[in-house]
């Protein structure tokens, strides 16, 4: 099991990333993936620009811990997390998570687990520009609930 974590400004190409992960591993039968994108509306306001701040060092550490927890819980091969930082605009990709496994149940669960934990534990913060000015996005209690259910 290999865990790949990357945090950078540059965009990513999910198709190419999946190809690279699968390369030469014919035991992989399932690839679950997720992309999060910037929406043009949030909390009822238009979003023009978004700025993503993070805590360098801790971010990578935390994402690696989350991936390691996923591979302790499920029989999976590889995990990949890419999270962008800096200035983003609507339609831009923010984050992707990819998990490979032999059968689909494991990669689906692990992919969703990693996203739920990333949302509540990885030190990223969003600031949006709206017609009313700039604002830091508030944490959603729905995200806490999503992460909480994996503890059962």
């Amino acid at each position: 099991m290999t865990c790949h974590v990357r945090v950078h400004e540059a965009d990513f190409d999910l198709g190419a990333e999946i190809k690279a992960l699968r390369l030469g591993n014919p035991a992989i039968g399932a690839v679950a993936s997720f992309i999060g994108c910037v929406r043009d509306m949030n909390e009822g306001d238009c979003v023009g620009l978004m700025y993503l701040e993070h805590y360098p060092g801790m971010t990578e550490r935390e994402l690696e811990k989350i991936c390691a927890e996923a591979s302790d819980r499920w029989e999976i091969f590889d995990t990949l997390v890419i999270h962008r930082i800096g200035e983003l605009k609507p339609l831009d990709q923010i984050v992707c998570v990819v998990v490979t496994s032999a059968h689909r149940g494991e990669s689906f669960s692990a992919c969703q687990f990693i996203m739920d934990y990333l949302k509540t534990r990885a030190p990223f913060w969003k600031r949006e520009s709206t017609p009313h000015g700039e604002r830091w996005v508030d944490a959603r209690t729905k995200d806490d609930a999503a992460a909480e259910r994996w503890k059962q």
Binding site: T120, P123, W125
Partner: protein
């Protein structure tokens, strides 16, 4: 006998500083004691770090509870609940 304080996102903006060296005194041996000392600065510090406000503390890049010890050389980060992804 100093620690590195790191403030991030909204707290960095409110405090007007992203990183500072902080001199530990003998009575500041836990996160809770450190927070009490910072609150005494008043202004945004007193307001944002008041009890009941939502913020997190990481010592050496691990999120900790407020009874966690603080030692010279530690990096102590204070930040709002995360909103990435």
């Amino acid at each position: 006998m100093t620690i590195q304080l790191v403030f991030l996102a909204r707290l960095r903006e409110r405090f007007g500083v992203s990183r500072e060296a902080f001199a530990l005194t003998a009575d500041i041996d836990t996160v809770a004691a450190l927070l009490a000392a910072l609150r005494k600065r008043g202004g945004a510090f007193a307001e944002e770090l008041a009890e009941g406000r939502a913020f997190r503390v990481a010592v050496n890049q691990d999120v900790v509870t407020f009874d966690h010890p603080v030692h010279a050389g530690d990096e102590v980060a204070i930040f709002p609940p995360v909103t990435g992804g």
